[in-house]
Amino acid sequence: MSDIVATNQTILVVGGGISGMTAAIEAAEVGKQVIVIEKRPFIGGRVSQLYKYFPKLCFPTCGLEINQRRINANKNITVVTMAEVTGLVGEAGNYTASVKISPRYVNSNCTACGACGDAVESEFDNEFNYNMDKRKGAYLPYNLAQPQRYVIDPQMIGTDDAQKAKDACKFNAVDLDMQEETIELKAGAVIYATGWRPYDANKIQPYGYDRIKNVITSVEFERMMDPFGPTGGKLVRPSDGAEAKKVAFIQCAGSRDRNYLKHCSRICCMASLKQSTYVSEKYGDDAEVSIYYIDIRAIDRFDDFYQKVQDDKNVTFIKSKVASIVENKANGNPTLHGVDTEGYNRYANEHDLVVLAVGMEPSVDKDTFPIEIKVNDEGFIEHDEANGGVFAAGCSSDALDVNRAVQHATAAALRAIQVVNRVAKAEG
């Protein structure tokens, strides 16, 4: 990794999700040198874990394929995976970043032939599917993973299986002695495209995510639809594998709430509207969806989609902040308690499955940025002159949908280019 060339005209992009990819491509395609630092073993970020996008109901991997092809074809972009920025010092036009690279135990000789995966037995929690299933200890994170290169789980190191993986590889790609290393990189501008993580549903005590098996989160529900996901594309209950036809979506689960997340995450209403179509996709007229909401925030042109879902007679909207969820021990059904504020009626509704529409939290904790940077109460990076040559892109700046995150990231690329062009001019 020490062969990476970086100067104070280089743009460092922290995070290789859709925002980071976009910023990198935009900058690189006008000739700028870009280094992308990605924490996971592959680029693509959260969108790689989505089944469909709203409102078109198209597939995120379609756009990922294009972006990955553009990145692969562009010599100006260097992608460093399994890496994190641990330190950042300097000022606009002259930064030095410390980047910690974790061992993948597989080097660039890998052809993704899959021999190591076939050779090993050990299995570990599959983080790509939010630990809802297991994957092997030598694995390709998912079908479209880029770089197309296997990973060996550090938990397997030192076991016989690790040796088996090494022995199975004909290309000397498995390197069990690989060590963590920290490298220093120069950069003129830094784009933080560190994205978001789903709010920890365990914290929302009244909803019993930690106690009731058939209460899951929206991101988990999304994975269930993938034919290669934890349930093989079936919408079933975690408790007993029964078909989940009567599904409740709880909006603002932990959002717009002083006890949890203060802000509205913008995407959750649209995500649940989209997910309501999944239930219909699987069960047709047997689908029975209830959406418990405060406001349906199907903003601007998305309202068309809301209107379409409203026309679906299998979907009911209940204006209510659900008070609590109790499990019916007899059948595992979660029962929702609360008051329907339209008319003030109490309810106790039983469902097969409850999906918590959890909000977006910034991936980087507020106080852990390696450099002083202006961050609001919610933890999102504010645009501020004081940030110098460090710019946010996408969900590190606010809760955004993919379209707006990409728009924001495109703008961030220009901000970074302004800095490195200034440097280039000064250096002649």
């Binding site: 052809t111 993704a112 032939c113 479209l144 042109r301 302004q418």
Partner: protein, 751 residues
């Protein structure tokens, strides 16, 4: 690349290829059938050693057509990236051994499959040239910005900061647009508690101080000819004076028109002076400038005000807007604060159905409004009754009852109507187009076109403005690519693209400026824009063969082709996205790209070895979209999902590029089945070239006649809509086709 064509073929034996296939035979096929001058085998071709071996042949042996018989064209692209040669991939791993069972009885057909792919890659090599830019345009870093509101000004300032000179064309007498009419704007910084100054004056001052920015006020673009890298824009002032300037790319920030509230008689607008729109309230607030706001009818200080959200919006009623304008909830909170901040005793009520204040800032601002005592009532307003004070009748959705309230002032939150010029004619087919031309003086479409003034006045065969998407916005259709309008080098930003507030419009403008800069740079180098970024190949046509049928100019999804006086196509390289839809449209096959042509594909399918009829080995041609169906096939292979050994897959840039001659040629040469795999079409189309898949389906409708004339069953040719996620489906479809052929029998056209 003067001199002889020389094919070097390289067979990889890694990843199981060597064990599963007879590599020597593949090498023989490459030299004997493929006419490769050099053929080498390697155990691990993508290794440094393997790559060096190939590079050495390029450097020292004169190899200029490189055939890699190894993995998919999507794999190991970093290793197999050679300069100044053409590259062809015979997909033996994902395309052959991973989709076929490893058993002795299958070995023969599996080997045949691999041999064919080697022949096909060599055939493609034979008919390909290394693409070189046309040199039609140089780098022009001047950016034209149409619209001088906050979006346009931001685009100019930010592009200028990166070193790109900008020209703003604004039709009004001053800069500032809609935001200049506002008293204050929604806060953009923590703690998001109070309205803030719009900053318009600072923006205008910055524009004036920037010597890199030229401003034309009272002006319009009356004609824009050319293409990215060489746009020539006529900028005409109201006085009539016109200057023509050259630009590399364009940002269109033409903003919105306020919705005409006269279409809302039920809310007493126009009848009662104290029923105003949000924009009119801004004027009242400006006039008050911090003192009590007075109402229009009698100048009384307002002591109670009701805001009616979604007035004429989110409604399918005639004359209403179907969309939500996104910003009005926050705008009403801001306006209620104008009253509350001046005098907390003023009663302010916001009547809404869904309060939409997203993000960190939005929710904080909402909370701040609640703290300041603004009343939020979830209700549907049915009527505003005219009287000395307007009376608002509404259904309170919480109490579930009808109610009414009298107020000094009623503010209607009416929405944004995009100012996006004329809807284009891009969707018209040839026939419709001709019909319209015949009936020039009549017809509804004609009337609508006259009413709307064009913004850009593009001198394009396919209309004067950027094509509109839903609700009349000149948006991109793509979630992952918000700036991909159907006009290369023209990027829309702000409310002309989609409804948005000032802050988002400014962010948006910056993104559009980025895209404009990108296009100005790349057009100058002859490089394609998204999604085939960097592609240097571009279409040319053989004039002697052209029949001036105009199909190419009509069907181009990007309006890239104009016509000369005689009706011959005039290609504009930098408008072109390299999809090949024109090539597919051309009935006389005169259009081609250096690296993608009727021959590069046609010769591949001719290179397939067709066994004799009694061999019972059918051949199925699969033409697969390179972005979705082809990756889906690769991923099926990764998962070892098997499909018929009789399939021969050729990736195509887009289904729209498929020439009918490929279909007839393959039928004539004895293929038993033909499968076309493109993206889903329709309203939510996924084709990144807009309509390739739909176009192909239409064209294939005409194949019926061909089949009939050859006495072939119609099931032999089928078109499918495939998404990249259809990983299980694609092998199944191929196997289904194999079963169908088994049923209907082999094609009699084997030679």
């Amino acid at each position: 690349m003067a001199g002889e064509m020389k094919i070097g073929a390289y067979v990889c034996k890694g990843c199981g290829i060597g064990e599963r296939l007879n590599a020597d035979q593949l090498a023989t096929t490459a030299t004997r059938d493929g006419k490769a001058a050099i053929c080498q085998q390697h155990d691990y071709l993508c290794s440094e050693e393997g790559v060096n071996m190939i590079q050495n042949d390029i450097d020292n042996e004169g190899v200029n057509r490189v055939v890699i018989a190894a993995c998919s064209r999507r794999a190991k692209t970093d290793a197999f990236a050679f300069k100044h040669v053409t590259l062809h991939r015979a997909n033996l791993r994902e395309g052959v051994i991973w989709v076929r069972p490893d058993s002795d009885d299958q070995q023969e057909t599996t080997q045949e499959m691999a041999d064919d792919y080697v022949r096909m890659a060599c055939a493609e090599a034979k008919y390909s040239k290394v693409p070189e830019a046309s040199g039609q345009q140089g780098v022009n870093r001047n950016i034209l910005i149409v619209g001088g509101g906050v979006a346009g000004m931001t685009a100019a300032l930010e592009a200028s900061k990166a070193g790109y000179p900008c020209t703003i064309v604004e039709k009004a007498a001053t800069l500032g647009g809609a935001v200049a009419q506002l008293y204050k704007t929604i806060p953009t910084k923590a703690p998001y508690a109070d309205p803030q100054d719009s900053g318009v004056d600072e923006l205008i001052a910055a524009i004036e101080a920037d010597s890199n920015i030229t401003v034309h006020l009272n002006s319009r673009t009356t004609n824009i000819a050319g293409a990215p890298g060489r746009f020539a824009a006529d900028i005409s002032a109201e006085s009539g004076a016109t200057v023509t300037k050259d630009f590399g790319a364009i940002v269109q920030a033409s903003g919105f028109k306020p919705y005409d509230a006269n279409q809302l008689p039920e809310f007493a607008y126009g009848k009662n002076k104290d029923v105003v729109t949000q924009l009119e309230l801004e004027a009242l607030a400006k006039a008050a400038n911090g003192s009590a706001i007075k109402r229009p009818s009698d100048g009384k200080e307002v002591s109670s005000v009701v805001f009616v959200q979604c007035a004429g919006q989110r409604s399918k009623k005639e004359g209403h807007l179907e969309h939500c304008s996104g910003y009005c909830c926050s705008a009403s909170i801001k306006q209620a604060m104008y009253f509350k901040d001046q005098n907390p005793d003023v009663e302010t009520t916001i009547m809404y159905t869904d309060l939409r204040t997203p993000g960190a800032g939005g929710e904080n601002f909402y909370r701040s409004g609640q703290k300041k005592g603004i009343i939020f009532t979830k209700s549907v307003v049915s009527e505003v009754v005219n009287g000395a004070n307007p009376t608002v009748k509404f259904k309170d959705l919480i109490l579930n009852e009808e109610a009414e309230v009298e107020a000094d002032l009623v503010v209607l939150a009416t929405g944004m109507v995009p100012n996006a010029g004329q809807a284009t004619r891009a969707e018209l087919t040839i026939e419709e187009n001709e019909d319209k031309a015949d009936a020039k003086s009549s017809g509804e479409a004609q009337v609508i076109r006259v009413e709307v003034e064009s913004i850009l006045n593009l001198d394009y065969r396919q209309g004067k403005d950027v094509p509109h998407m839903a609700n009349g916005f000149a948006d991109s259709h793509f979630i992952c690519f918000p700036y991909e309008t159907q006009r290369t080098g023209i990027y829309t930003a702000g409310p002309t693209r989609r409804p948005m507030d000032a802050k988002q419009a400014m962010d948006d403008a910056m993104g559009a400026a980025m895209r404009a800069i990108g296009e100005a740079e790349n057009a100058g180098l002859g490089k394609a824009a998204h999604p085939r970024s960097g592609d240097l190949s571009f279409p040319t046509f053989r004039k002697e063969g052209c029949t001036q049928c105009k199909r190419c100019t009509v069907e181009c999804p990007f309006g890239a082709i104009n016509e000369d006086e005689q009706g011959y196509p005039v290609y504009n390289e930098s408008r072109c996205r390299r999809c090949g839809t024109c090539m597919g449209a051309c009935p006389v096959r005169v259009i081609s790209f250096e690296s993608y042509s009727v021959d590069t594909v046609g010769q591949q399918l001719k290179a397939v070895d067709i066994p004799e009829e009694f061999d019972e080995k059918p051949r199925i041609l699969v033409l697969a979209c390179e972005n979705d169906a082809y990756p889906a096939l690769d991923m099926a292979a990764q998962n070892k999902l098997e499909y018929s050994a009789f399939a021969r897959v050729i990736p195509v840039r887009c289904l729209g590029s498929i020439s009918l001659s490929w279909i007839t040629d393959s039928l004539n040469s004895g293929f038993d089945g033909i499968m076309l795999m493109g993206c889903p079409s329709g309203d939510n189309y996924q084709c990144h070239f807009v309509k390739g898949s739909g176009t192909a389906q239409e064209r294939m409708g005409k194949v019926g006649d061909t089949l009939q004339s050859l006495s072939l069953e119609k099931e032999r040719v089928a078109t499918y809509e495939i998404s990249i996620t259809d990983i299980h489906k694609v092998p199944k479809l191929i196997n289904d086709m194999a079963t169908t052929i088994e049923k209907i029998g082999m094609s009699p056209f084997k030679f």
